[in-house]
Amino acid sequence: MPFIFFALLLFFAVPAHAEEPSAQVYHTAIGMAAQGKTAEAVAALQAASAMLPAQNMWQQRMITAAMLLQMKQQQLHSLPALASNSNLLLADAYIRTHPATSPHNPWFAGSLGTLFPGAGHAWLGRWHDARMAAILVIPMLLLTLWAARRQMGPVTLFFAAITLWLWSGTIFSAISLSQRENMEAYMQWWQPMWQAAALSGQPW
């Protein structure tokens, strides 16, 4: 009877979700990473892991989390260092079994868009966007050439300025969409790796 009484007392006296300090630091850092403060989160995790004893569960999690966040920052497809703990071994196993898709080169998309309006979008497989970019630029380009042929002076300059703005905008768009698709494809590969490494929290 006294045993049951003490067991019940312990059950109600100790808060169910009381976290140890290491866990609090870890979750605070993950929260920072979720807000986009990746560099600060990595610094906090590295500093906290340096103070914990080796082979401690939270130290291993912190080292792994810091390494995976660094990977995301630089969009790397392999671990920046050798796997040295169980979480990193799990991440390594994920990388071996799940090869990442090769990213588009944003500058190649931009170069194609420079050669012909919309070609960069077409290379990305965005044919509707390619048509839109061509429709945006080509009429103004023809108008500029027409004005130049008729030696219309300031009118030619005006049309040329608009063409320049629109054309450079479509090149920028091809580069931007390429960057965005690369990042989104990377995140689709990286997020399951975080979960495969048995790390808690969601830094996204």
Partner: protein
Amino acid sequence: MVATDVAGSRTLGATVVKQWLPYYLGLALLSGAASLLYAPLSLPTSTPQNFAIHFYQHAIGKLDGRSCPAYPVCSVYAREAFNHHTPLIASWLIIDRLIHEADDLKHEQGFLFEGEPRLYDPLQRNDFWLTEK
């Protein structure tokens, strides 16, 4: 006697109005202007581009109906772009939005707002690579 008093008070009133009214109005205007210092002066039409967006939102936008399928809508997106980037880069970001929104809506899972499909496409989704550096 009474007539002299009335004439005297009118003259006095005219003198007070003539001499003190400019000071009074000056102080009133200065006080009004000083009271605006409680907040930074960021009026919606303080720059040409913001004026254009404001004009579109409040004059043209109501006439042409909702044509932007994205969230935030293009005018809000444009305002954000101008607030975070130089005018040239902001204008490129707007061109990019106008080019890609229709294709995105075809290929991506949007959400339903008042029965119409809309695409979640915030500025951060497109300018993260500019702000990272």
